[in-house]
């Protein structure tokens, strides 16, 4: 039986369903139901309205990756499933591919989106916000969601069309390097943000901005504490209690 390619509508349907990838996130199998949920329109196209139990069981196994990268896995899995159903030889079956790539894709997505892009967008928006720009939240949304949506949508299409080669494509994109650049840019913006606040504080106390340098070791000390496991909540309690105590005493 010849392998036919899906119409774009089916792929888009799966892509739209990917927004619910984590809809039933659970500790035991994590995103398994979200994964099969986005595959089902395609699987129905391959196997008909009544799906074989073994196909459903195959795709309700444990699954966990970064939610935006799940579309890359789903696109390829669907293509492999299509070929397998047509009796065509595949170098790697769909379930094996899914198990093999979910962890590396998760690592890439977590570093790029959670560790890199999200802090960068937030700090850039805060830089605007401290100047009273009420549209700062929009900047955060745009900065984050353009790459997010591109990744989500292109994942389905490229995963399906390029099959196993989509993994090589992701490798060529050097996403871990991009994550490091984003983190470095975030740190630079954080430095600027803290300095602006320090200078404002000095101005409020009628001091020269250079006095703000005193805050640098304080922030670095807090960063060290944070790295040692002291939570932001503990630091907020400590600082608030100290400042309110001083205000009440004096």
């Amino acid at each position: 039986m010849a392998v036919t390619r899906f119409p774009l509508g089916i792929l888009l349907h799966g892509c739209v369903r990917s927004v619910l990838q984590q809809g039933s996130w659970n500790f035991e199998r994590m995103q398994n139901l979200g994964f099969i949920y986005q595959l089902l329109p395609g699987l129905r196209r391959i196997y008909g309205p009544t799906l074989p139990a073994e196909v459903l069981q195959r795709h309700t196994e444990y699954f966990n990756t970064h939610p935006y990268m799940a579309t890359w896995v789903a696109g390829t899995v669907l293509r492999l499933e299509e070929k397998q159903a047509a009796g065509e030889a595949v170098p790697l079956d769909a379930a094996a591919f899914r198990s093999m790539v979910m962890a590396p894709y998760a690592a890439m997505g977590d570093a790029l989106f959670w560790g890199g892009l999200r802090p960068l967008a937030a700090v850039a928006a805060l830089l605007l916000a401290i100047h009273g720009e009420m549209w700062a939240p929009l900047l955060l949304l745009v900065m984050f969601n353009v790459p997010h949506l591109v990744c989500r949508c292109s994942g389905w299409l490229l995963g399906y069309r390029q099959e196993l080669a989509s993994a090589e494509l992701l490798q060529r994109l050097r996403l871990p390097d991009a994550a490091i650049w984003l983190k470095e840019a975030t740190i630079v913006l954080l430095g600027i943000l803290c300095a602006l606040l320090a200078a404002r504080g000095c101005e409020h106390q009628e001091l020269a901005p250079f006095w703000g340098l005193i805050l640098l070791p304080v922030i670095l000390f807090f960063a060290w504490l944070s790295r040692r496991g002291v939570t932001s909540f503990s630091l907020v309690v400590l600082i608030t209690a100290s400042l309110l105590g001083l205000a009440l005493i004096f």
């Binding site: 927004v19 619910l20 984590q22 039933s24 996130w25 500790f27 035991e28 139901l33 979200g34 099969i36 799906l51 074989p52 139990a53 459903l56 069981q57 309700t60 998760a106 959670w114 560790g115 999200r118 802090p119 937030a122 928006a125 805060l126 916000a129 009420m134 939240p137 955060l140 949304l141 984050f144 969601n145 983190k183 740190i187 954080l190 430095g191 943000l193 803290c194 300095a195 606040l197 320090a198 200078a199 504080g201 901005p209 703000g212 805050l215 640098l216 922030i219 670095l220 000390f221 807090f222 504490l225 944070s226 790295r227 932001s232 909540f233 630091l235 907020v236 400042l243 309110l244 009440l248």
Partner: protein, 229 residues
Amino acid sequence: MTAAYLTTGVLSVLLGLDRVAVLQCMVSRPLVAASLTGWLLGVPLAGFEAGMLLELLWLGRLPVGAVVPPDDTQVAIGATALALTLERLLGLHGMPSVILCVLTAIPLGKIGQYADTRARRFNNRLAELASAAAAAGNARRIERLHLCGLGSFALAGLFTCTAIVAGGTLLLLPLAPLLVGAVRETGLSLQYSFTMIGAAALLGTLNVSRGLFLFGAAFIATLLVIGLR
């Protein structure tokens, strides 16, 4: 006030879903969530300020694997609703009032972690039922079970927000008039300390080899530019 609390409830569900279960387009970030809440409740500045104070605090806590970070979305929404309550019932407004609301909402936000964990545990049951449905070849049931998971996350968000607003109101109505003066006395120190602590926490979690150098250089260069201007 009833309409305002209903709006808060609806927002806690919608924005709370964005946090884990639906799309994750970051409308659940405190800066966005609090601003939107403030705008819809008629206290846009209070919402914007609450969002600014909270944005960085838990930004470094990544939602990776089985980690359940503190629910800063509900803290932001709840703090904004509390700011509205103080304004309407006590006539308190401005940054000191917002700071008090945020300080009250932060510890109550721990409830969010508990509620989120409970929602995910409830979903374990859905995964088990889905396995049985898969064995029976029932794809429709798997789809329905998956969508049921949204309900547990929605309830968790609503529960957390309700707890923050109710608990915060009970605490703040007697205490806010006593504390707001002391908060005002701290000037900008307390206000900026939230961002500084958040920045430090983020700096501590961003694992970049020359991170401290980049931060220090940017900090000093910015102060120099401002000082020499």
